[in-house]
């Protein structure tokens, strides 16, 4: 992630970060996003269903 991209993201998210801290935040996000940007999204399963219903649960306790 470049500093320019970081600034673009800040503008889109409406947040302000002190200019002298941008490089640290850039490094933090670069590390956090490295595995995500390296992944082939076609090779990973989709996530669990948002809601599941289990007939074995007590009444009124269906769904997560």
């Amino acid at each position: 992630m470049t500093l320019e991209e970081l600034r673009d993201r800040m503008k889109a998210a409406r947040v302000e970060i002190a200019e002298n801290r941008l490089e640290l935040v850039r490094r933090l996000l670069t590390d956090a996003l490295r595995p995500i940007h390296a992944m082939d999204s076609r090779k990973h399963r989709t996530l669990e269903p948002a809601v599941t219903f289990d007939a074995g649960r007590p009444r009124g306790d269906h769904g997560q």
Binding site: E16, A32, L33, P35, H44
Partner: protein, 462 residues
């Protein structure tokens, strides 16, 4: 037992003394309160000492013991709670200026459960700001110091819990762990910390950092003491949507079964990157001890282990989502480092967050597959010993990745156990991770190793 050894006695030892009438809960609590008054000004482990409450709890325990009630091993045992656990009628700050005057009207479920077990509440233990920020000099709540070296951090965010236990100021403590906040302080302070399986211990009444990664759990000086605490804490709680209905087994009785025949898998990729040579040496010696005790130790590979780094993206995004209102309305009430970290979470896109969760699902599947071949995984708890405050306060100091976050991603139970000291006298730690809800095996491995070594008998010179 000499008076200077009493603060480092085990919960089992204390219980035996209570039963023999050689010690009373009130005497013990008074001794601890005096020790806190003498030592804590130099350690800053406590935010609030609840002396009156502690003595009232101790008197109630004394009455119960007088009736011959020995049903709970925690009866009359003085403990402390990380200051992100709500305590009814008692200041709960979260280490934050935003909550500096908050007096909850309810107890967190974990607090209730330890109190039901008869534990004595000594007070509230300092936490890093909202379990995530670093307390720089001048912060409203002073940072806790590491009892082994006052110039070093005790780890975080359960910093006060780690410092209090290492200093003999409590016999047990509650911590919370989103990326290692129980196991990190346990590692740096030479104590034991357990992050149980996700859903094993309730988070109701505990301040949220990142709800898909947050865990609560016990910290103590021995594995058996941790097992006693877990026994009281574990179990379903309808107030926590992630709470599991998985039955709670006996955690204490299996401790003595040894490790003969158990398979220990050592994960080297990811967990040895940038490792300190003394940490590596201590870890290898711990593996040798486990082999001598009869365990089979072998290297294992987790195919997508580098995906574990995505845990930071989940943590940042969820922390921002939870605190967004206050970050936008009262940014000045957050410490500078915490504010930056949380605002960074606003810069993660929806797609990136979802992809991180997909990587997490893959990592969980990969790790569970490996845990069908071995009983537990072993890694160093931290790649380095406790850092100095000077290091951490450097403006260029980043967010350390650590060896603990992967098990918050997968929700597996993970235990930090002392495994030696550096030449400079700083504690080292081994992390033992098990199958979902198999805390019993994790504790058993930790206990067997611990009892075969003497690390637990060393205490800081205070």
């Amino acid at each position: 037992m000499a008076s200077d050894e009493l603060p480092y006695a085990t919960i089992r030892d204390i219980g035996a003394r209570f039963r023999r009438r050689a010690l009373s809960p009130v005497e013990l609590t008074r001794a601890l309160l005096e020790r806190i008054e003498r030592l804590d000004p130099g350690l800053h482990a406590f935010v609030t000492v609840t002396a009156d409450r502690a003595l009232a709890d101790a008197k109630a325990a004394e009455t119960a013991l007088g009736r011959g009630d020995f049903s709970s091993p925690l009866l009359g045992i003085p403990v402390g709670y990380k200051d992100i656990y709500a305590t009814r009628g008692i200041l709960t700050t979260g280490g934050s200026a935003l909550l500096a005057d908050w007096i909850p009207t309810e107890d967190a479920t974990c607090v209730t459960r330890l109190q039901r077990g008869g534990a004595v509440m000594l007070g509230k233990l300092i936490t890093h700001e909202f379990a995530f920020g670093i307390q720089f000099p001048g912060h409203r709540f002073a940072a806790a110091k590491n009892p082994w070296d006052l110039e070093r951090m005790p780890g975080g965010s359960s910093s006060g819990s780690g410092a209090a236990l290492a200093a003999g100021l409590a016999f047990g403590a509650l911590g919370s762990d989103t990326g290692g906040s129980i196991r990190g302080p346990a590692s740096f302070c030479g104590i034991v910390g357990l992050k149980p399986t996700y859903g094993r211990c309730s988070r109701a009444g505990v301040l949220t950092l990142s709800w898909t990664l947050d865990h609560t759990g016990p910290m103590a000086r021995t594995v058996e003491d941790c097992a006693y605490l877990l026994q009281a804490l574990a179990g379903h709680d309808a107030a926590d949507p992630a709470s599991s209905r998985e039955p709670v087994p006996d955690y204490v009785a299996p401790l003595s079964r040894g490790v003969r025949g158990l398979r220990v898998g050592v994960v080297r990729e990811y967990f040895f990157e940038g490792i300190d040579p003394e940490v590596e040496k201590g870890f290898e010696q711990a593996l040798a001890t486990l082999r001598q005790l009869g365990a089979t130790v072998e290297d294992v590979q987790i195919p997508d282990i580098q995906a574990a780094g995505a845990y930071t993206a989940i943590l940042l995004a969820e922390a921002f989502a939870y605190h967004e209102h206050d970050l936008r309305e009262h940014p000045e009430r957050f410490g500078e480092i915490l504010r930056e970290r949380m605002l960074a979470g606003a810069l993660i896109t929806a797609s990136e967050y979802v992809q991180a969760q997909r990587l997490r699902a893959q990592l969980r599947a990969d790790m569970n597959a490996v845990l069908r071949r071995v009983d537990v995984l072993a890694t160093p708890t931290s790649p380095k010993p406790a850092p100095t405050f000077t290091t951490v306060y450097d403006p260029e100091y980043g967010f350390p990745r650590g060896n603990t976050g992967p098990f918050n991603m997968t929700g597996l139970p993970a235990l930090a156990v002392p495994c030696g000291f550096t030449a400079a006298g700083l504690p080292l730690s081994i992390q033992i991770t098990g199958r979902p809800f198999d805390e019993a095996t994790v504790l058993r491995v930790g206990h067997t190793y611990e009892q075969a070594t003497s690390w637990r008998t060393r205490h800081p010179n205070l």
